[in-house]
C-alpha cells in the first residue's frame, strides 16, 4: 500500500511539466559543472602542480559536482516537498487518503518514498554522468559510491524535514520557506560555533555529517545520524496528521 501512495505522488510530480523542468534544469547545471571540471582538470594538472599534490580526476570533478548538488538540493527539495501535504490540505483532498484503507504511517511513508524516488532519479543521473569518465580514465568507484550515498541520505533527510513542515500548514509557499530556513540553519549551524570538534552544534549540523561522505569516508555514525533524522521527522509528521483526526 505504501508503494501505491508513492506511485501516486510520483505520478503527480510528472503530471505537470514541473517534474520534467526540474530534472532538465538541474541536469543542465550538473552537466555544466561536470564539463568545466573536465576542462579545468587538464589545465590545473598539466604540470604546474607537483606530482605529490595532484588529485585524481574522480575527486577533482566529483568535488565540484557533488558540492553543487548538495547546495542545489537545499533549494529544490523545499520546492518539491512543499506541496506534499499542504497542497492536499488546501484543496481538501486529505479525506480521500484518510477514508481509504490506509494507515497514517502508510500515507506518510508513501509520500516520503514518492519524493525520495523522484530525487533518486537526479542522484542516479549524477552518478551515471560521473561513471562515463571511466571510458577514458580509471576512476575511483569507492569515492563515487560514498558521495552518491551521502548525497542520497542528505536529500532523503531534506525530504523528511520538508514533509513535516508541509504537514504543519495549508500554504505550500509557507511550507517551502520554513523548510528552506530550517535546512539552511541545520547546514550552517556548525559555522557559528567552531573550534570545539565535539560540540553539540557540530553534531546537529547536517553538513558536518555530509562532509565525511564527500571525502570518501563512509562512517556508520553518520549513516545513523541521517536515518535517525529521517525517522524523527517522519514520526512527527504521522503524529501531526493523527492530531488532525483527534482534534479536527
Amino acid at each position: 500500500m505504501i508503494l501505491k501512495v508513492a506511485r501516486k505522488e510520483l505520478k503527480s510530480v510528472f503530471a505537470s511539466p514541473m517534474g520534467w523542468v526540474i530534472l532538465a534544469l538541474l541536469q543542465f547545471g550538473f552537466g555544466t559543472y561536470f564539463l568545466n571540471g573536465v576542462n579545468e582538470y587538464f589545465e590545473v594538472m598539466s604540470g604546474a602542480i607537483r606530482p605529490a599534490e595532484r588529485t585524481g580526476v574522480t575527486m577533482f570533478i566529483g568535488q565540484s559536482v557533488f558540492g553543487l548538488a548538495s547546495f542545489v538540493m537545499l533549494f529544490s527539495v523545499p520546492l518539491l516537498s512543499m506541496r506534499l501535504i499542504s497542497e492536499e490540505r488546501r484543496s481538501n483532498t486529505l479525506p480521500f487518503l484518510f477514508s481509504a484503507p490506509l494507515s497514517l504511517t502508510e500515507i506518510v511513508l508513501g509520500k516520503f518514498i514518492g519524493l525520495v524516488a523522484f530525487l533518486s532519479i537526479l542522484v542516479a543521473m549524477i552518478a551515471v554522468m560521473l561513471c562515463t569518465l571511466n571510458a577514458w580514465a580509471d576512476i575511483d568507484f569507492g569515492y563515487l559510491f560514498s558521495n552518491v550515498l551521502g548525497l542520497w541520505l542528505l536529500v532523503a533527510s531534506f525530504s523528511a524535514l520538508g514533509l513535516y513542515f508541509s504537514s504543519l500548514t495549508a500554504q505550500p509557499v509557507v511550507a517551502a520557506i520554513i523548510t528552506f530556513i530550517a535546512l539552511f540553519g541545520l547546514l550552517i549551524v556548525d559555522r557559528f560555533l567552531t573550534g570545539d570538534e565535539a560540540s553539540v552544534t557540530n553534531y546537529l549540523s547536517l553538513m558536518h555529517h555530509f562532509q565525511p561522505f564527500a571525502r570518501g569516508l563512509i562512517d556508520t555514525a553518520d549513516i545513523t545520524y541521517f536515518l535517525l533524522f529521517i525517522v524523527t521527522f517522519l514520526t512527527l509528521t504521522v503524529r501531526r496528521l493523527d492530531a488532525d483526526r483527534l482534534r479536527g
Binding site: 503527480s12 505537470s16 480521500f96 484518510f98 477514508s99 484503507p101 490506509l102
Partner: protein
C-alpha cells in the same frame, strides 16, 4: 445482526468544550438509504466524518459491518466509500488517471482496475470525460467524479455529503436514480438540504439539530406527519364555522389569512364529498378544495423548533 451495515453508538464530538455532536446513535441495514437532514452547522458533516474515520469521536463507537472503526480502521475503511462536502479531487490528473488511483488505493486488484473505472464512469455518466483534466471540468462534472471515486471499489456503505450540490436538474435526476440503484445492493447515507430529495430517495430519515438527533424513523412516518388529515377549502360565501362543524367527519375549522379554510377531520373519514354537496346545495360558492399538505419544510422546522424550545 449480520445485515447491519452501520452501527453508531452514542457518538459524541466535543470541539473546545462545545458538543458539536452529542450522543448520536443509529443503525442502518443492508439495502437502506438513510437521509440525513439538518440546518447548517447542526453536525451532519461532523457525524459523517466520524463514521468514515476522518475524525475520532470524543465518545462512542462506530461499527461498519461489525468491524470497529477505531480498533480496525483499515478493515472498516475498506468497506466504505465517502464523498466529503468538497469533492476530494486531484486536479492535475485526468478523470481516468484519478479514478485508477482511487481504485488502487481502495485495494481493487490490478487486473480489475480498468473494469472498475469503466463501471464507475458509466454509472456516473462520465464516459465522455475520460481524458479530460479534472481541473477543466465544470462543477457538476467534478461532483460526479467525486461520486465515482466513492463507489469505485463497490463498497458496502456509501456515504455522500450533499451529493447533488451544484448539479443541474437533469444531473440531479440522474444522480438520484443512481443513489436509488446503489441503495439496492449497498447501504447509502446521504446528507442534504433539499427535503423533496429525501422524500424521493430515502427509506429512513434522521433529522439532526444542534448536534442532537431529533427525529429518527422511516420516511413513511414523516410523510404521514406531512399529509395529516386536513383539507383546504376555498368558499366565496363561507358560512359560520358551526355550520361546517356539523358536516360529518369535520373536527375543527380554522380560517387562514389568505381567505381559505383549513378543515381537520377524523382519520379515515374524508368529508370532501359531503362538503362539496353541502356547498352546492347551500350556495357557499366553492372554488377550491384540496388536501392540505404541510410542506416537508414545515415538518422540519417544527421538529427542529420543538427541540430549541425544549
Amino acid at each position: 445482526m449480520t445485515t447491519l451495515t452501520v452501527e453508531a453508538n452514542n457518538l459524541t464530538r466535543i470541539y473546545g468544550g462545545r458538543e458539536a455532536v452529542s450522543d448520536v446513535s443509529f443503525t442502518l441495514s443492508k439495502g437502506e438509504v438513510l437521509g440525513f437532514l439538518g440546518p447548517n452547522g447542526a453536525g451532519k458533516s461532523t457525524t459523517m466524518k466520524m463514521i468514515t474515520g476522518n475524525l475520532a469521536p470524543s465518545k462512542g463507537s462506530v461499527k461498519i459491518c461489525g468491524v470497529d472503526m477505531i480498533e480496525n480502521p483499515k478493515e472498516a475503511k475498506a468497506l466504505i466509500g465517502y464523498l466529503p462536502e468538497t469533492p476530494p479531487l486531484y486536479r492535475e490528473f485526468t478523470v481516468d488517471e484519478f479514478l485508477a488511483i482511487a481504485a488502487r488505493l481502495h485495494g481493487v486488484s490490478a487486473k480489475h482496475i480498468r473494469a472498475a473505472v469503466q463501471r464507475a464512469k458509466e454509472r456516473c455518466g462520465l464516459t465522455e470525460m475520460s481524458k479530460r483534466l479534472i481541473e477543466n471540468l465544470s462543477k457538476g462534472y467534478q461532483q460526479r467524479v467525486g461520486i465515482a471515486q466513492a463507489i469505485i471499489h463497490n463498497p458496502m456503505v456509501v456515504i455522500l455529503d450533499e451529493p447533488t450540490v451544484g448539479l443541474d436538474p437533469i444531473q440531479i435526476r440522474d444522480i438520484r436514480a443512481l443513489i436509488k440503484e446503489l441503495g439496492g445492493e449497498h447501504s447509502v447515507i446521504l446528507s442534504t438540504h433539499i427535503l423533496p430529495e429525501v422524500e424521493m430517495i430515502c427509506d429512513h430519515v434522521q433529522i439532526i439539530d444542534k448536534g442532537k438527533l431529533v427525529f429518527n424513523g422511516s420516511i413513511d412516518v414523516l410523510k404521514q406527519q406531512r399529509h395529516g388529515n386536513k383539507l383546504l377549502l376555498g368558499l366565496t360565501n363561507p358560512p359560520s364555522h358551526d355550520v361546517l362543524l356539523k358536516v360529518a367527519g369535520v373536527e375543527s375549522v380554522e380560517a387562514l389569512p389568505n381567505g381559505l379554510l383549513r378543515v381537520r377531520y377524523a382519520a379515515g373519514k374524508v368529508p370532501a364529498e359531503a362538503l362539496v354537496q353541502a356547498a352546492v346545495s347551500k350556495g357557499w360558492g366553492l372554488h377550491q378544495i384540496n388536501p392540505d399538505q404541510t410542506s416537508l419544510e414545515d415538518v422540519f422546522v417544527q421538529l427542529t423548533y420543538q427541540d430549541a424550545a425544549a
